[in-house]
């Protein structure tokens, strides 16, 4: 039997209802993907919170760095014209 501490970490994503996106709900340790799915079921959807689970080994998640956030997201800060509210509609036209 392998050391419990050696079990890899998995990130868990749950789809609340058919048609919705899978959303990250947390993580857990498991030997393999199959076991991770069972653990995720027992850990995260004991009350029918989901109809579908994805598990991904945490080491496969590549994340942007919080510390670089300013430079990383800077290009979208000065473009108010990407939003509909930037444009004024003439009188009599209210629905667009």
């Amino acid at each position: 039997m392998s050391n419990r501490n050696m079990m890899p970490l998995f990130e868990v994503f749950v789809r609340g209802k058919r048609g919705l996106d899978h959303i990250h709900v947390g993580s857990l340790h498991a030997h393999d993907a199959e076991q991770a799915l069972e653990y995720a079921r027992d850990t995260y959807i004991r009350r029918g919170e989901g109809v579908s689970i994805w598990v991904v080994e945490s080491k496969h998640i590549h994340a942007s760095q919080e510390s670089d956030a300013q430079a990383f997201y800077d290009p979208m800060d000065d473009k108010p014209y990407r939003h509909a509210t930037y444009y004024t509609l003439p009188d009599g036209v209210d629905n667009m």
Partner: protein
């Protein structure tokens, strides 16, 4: 015990009947899958080809502000193409196959993009009318039965909310401008109005895929219903800025609670679909050229990935 095809079909039909989404790992009839690949890839190709008529005016936009807005819009269209290609790929078809089908003429894109953008007012008309028509269609498709397609539509509709307004604002300003500017706006409306109505496709009775797509809830509203919706919402917008819709038969029908409007030139519609529109060859040639010009980037990336794997 293994499920029979009949069991699987029943389960599929039950999900559709219950308004549940079909997700990529669900069993689905091969014809449903094929129908989706056809429609979704056509939608993706349209987003990408649609960048061409607008890109034509990027360097000649009248102000820096207009250039920034147009650039942001075109960037969105490219992004929307990517959402839709990715969603199509969940059906087990590769990006390469989809692009090949476009280049070999086996896959189509919206015929509207085979019309040329001749003046700056055309950029206004495209945003107002072409995006306006696309949004009517896409709002309806947010309720399509295939999960990844529906979710892509939700995202796209949210992002597109500014596309129509920026186009309409161009028309508003031209319509309030000099006589020449107003004439330019009217001319653009004259040329883009009918092709915009054609975007909704043939009449329901003559639409090749409509009946089955409605049964499978891939399509949620018929071509004619969506077209009527677009006409009803657009006529007051033209009136508000003193432009005339180029249709002598256009009249409010009190009894129906809708505008009546004239018949589309279906010969023109068929001609453009067949490949004989003003810009069909140019659009496809440009797409192939851009794809070929980018080949060295894809090759370099593949070479880099191969080298990293061998380290």
């Amino acid at each position: 015990m293994a499920e029979t095809t009949e069991d699987l079909e029943q389960a599929f039909e039950a999900k559709i009947a219950a308004e549940e989404k079909i997700e990529p790992k669900d069993w689905m009839p091969e014809a449903y899958r094929k129908n989706l690949v056809r429609q979704m890839s056509q939608h993706a190709h349209s987003e990408v080809i649609g960048m061409q008529p607008e890109g034509n005016w990027l360097t000649r936009a009248p102000t820096l502000k207009r250039k920034c807005i147009l650039l942001a819009k075109i960037q969105d269209e490219g992004g929307h193409g990517l959402y839709l290609y990715s969603a199509t790929e969940t059906l087990g078809v590769s990006r390469e196959e989809l692009i090949d089908a476009l280049h070999e003429g086996r896959a189509k894109y919206a015929s509207i993009f085979n019309y040329p953008s001749l003046t700056w007012a055309d950029i206004g008309a495209i945003g107002w009318l072409v995006d306006g028509a696309a949004i009517v269609n896409q709002i309806s498709l947010q309720r399509t039965s295939y999960g990844p397609y529906a979710r892509a539509m939700v995202r796209i509709c949210k992002e597109e909310s500014f596309h129509q307004r920026q186009g309409y604002e161009i028309m508003v300003e031209l319509a309030r401008g000099s006589d020449a500017q107003k004439a330019m706006a009217q001319d653009a409306l004259n040329r883009w109005w009918w092709p915009s109505l054609m975007m909704f496709g043939p009449h329901d009775a003559e639409s090749a895929h409509s009946a089955q797509s409605m049964l499978w809830k891939i399509k949620r509203q018929s071509n004619d219903d969506l077209r009527q919706k677009f006409v009803d919402q657009t006529v007051p917008q033209a009136e508000a800025i003193g432009l005339r819709i180029p249709d002598d038969a256009l009249v409010w029908n009190e009894a129906r609670g809708h505008y009546d409007f004239g018949e589309i030139d279906w010969d023109e519609f068929q001609r453009v679909i067949r490949g004989d529109g003003l810009c069909n060859r140019q659009r496809l040639r440009h797409h192939k050229q851009a794809h070929d010009d980018g080949a060295w980037v894809r090759e370099a990336m593949a070479a880099y990935a191969a080298r990293e794997e061998n380290v």
